[in-house]
Amino acid sequence: MQTTLTNPLAIYLAVLAGAFGLWCLMPKPRHHRPLLGGLFAAGALGIAWLVMYETLDFADLGLSVTAFVYYYVFSAIAIGSAIMVIIATKPVHSALWFVMVVLASAGLFLVLSAEFMAFAMVIIYAGAILVTYMFVIMLAASAGGPNDPGEDEVFDVQAREPGAAVFAGLLMLAVLLTLSFDASNRPNPLAASPPDREVIAEILPNRTADVVRGRIEAEIARLDPTASPVIAQADPDRLSNVEKVGLDLFQSHPLGIELAGIVLLVALIGAVVIAKTRVEDHPEPRPSGAAHPAGHDAPETQGLS
């Protein structure tokens, strides 16, 4: 099976085209051509995938081919939304596009049979963290542009060093792509992980195949088996993804769980301390030159609540 790229130059050209497209897309006063940039970025992604396509061997993919089609769908959504996050001129739009990134990467996790992480990602990121971002965007709502309150802020429409940043980022991307296709040219050291059947027999006595099979049969006897194909298809010898993650988490990383709890506690205390800090308001003029209406050192700017 061929895993190295026959023509790595093509993928570097694709990265270069993507860099140019991203540079065109960046919000800036001059040379802001969104249409051209979008075309270049999409073309770069297409070329990169065409070049990478030749490494695929559909007989030995490790995934079903149908699932791999979804890889392309979700990756395209994720990358497109990620570009929108960094070029949107309003923070709210950035946050909403980031929700799309999270949903698309949850789809990628599903393709990889990591169901638990997919749903945890949607609940924690799209549910909790993004809501926090939305609150902060509302709390820190600035007065808008210098003249019109609905106008974008000056610092939102002027990217900082777009050329150098795009060059550095995409240079790193080229290196990463080279590494991921070169380093994969090694035999898969496939995992000394024991078969599910042994794990079940050793530590989950209530979950052995016979017990589960008995439970399933009882369930089938209770229900009409033809009406419930899901129950009939359950595999008693195979651990589900949630069971696997839970076992690994609590067997191999018990200390990590405690430390994660401590980190969360410290973050909680820190957030409370930050929120209770009384901030003196410095009525300095805004450095970006956009004049803010005077008299904003009103007493309501003290304290968070």
Binding site: M1, L22, L56, D57, L61, G62, L63, A67, F68, Y71, V85, I86, P91, S94, A95, F98, V101, S105, L108, L112, A114, M117, A120, M121, Y125, T132, Y133, A140, S142, E153, V154, F155, D156, G169, L170, L176, S180, S184, N185, L190, S193, I216, E217, A232, Q233, D235, K244, V245, S252, G256, V263, I274, A275, T277, D281, H282, E284, R286, P287, A290
Partner: protein
């Protein structure tokens, strides 16, 4: 009937990625990471800068889970749980700081804090 059914499902459930498929997932992860990096450097809005760091976390999570599928164990997925924990703690603290900074200068512009001596 119960014995017959799993054999048809087995190829769908058993994920052990091939090298080339792993490379594809790594490529997507690398693109997400680098876009987050570019966004962090170019954007001047504090909130969007932190959103971009979250996007880099997304890229790392995809990479870890693809490796977990490649090696056929779940350590990568377990590690993503810890990444999520740290990301949640970081988001809470960073956003609290952003609100505090906004109260000091009445702007979200990162350039307003270019001089650290005050």
């Amino acid at each position: 009937m119960i014995d017959a059914a799993p054999t048809s499902l087995a190829p769908l459930l058993a994920v052990s990625l091939s090298d080339a498929a792993l490379g594809h997932f790594q490529a997507t992860a690398a693109v997400l990471f680098c876009l987050g990096l570019v966004g962090f450097v170019t954007r001047r809005n504090l909130i969007v800068m932190f959103l971009c760091t979250e996007m880099m976390f997304q890229g790392v999570a995809i990479s870890l889970i693809a490796f977990s599928a490649y090696h056929g164990n779940v350590t990568g997925q377990t590690f993503v749980i810890f990444v999520l924990t740290i990301a949640a703690a970081e988001a809470a603290l960073a956003l609290g700081l952003v609100v505090m900074l906004f109260r000091r200068r009445r702007t979200l512009d990162a350039e307003a804090w270019a001089q650290l001596h005050d």
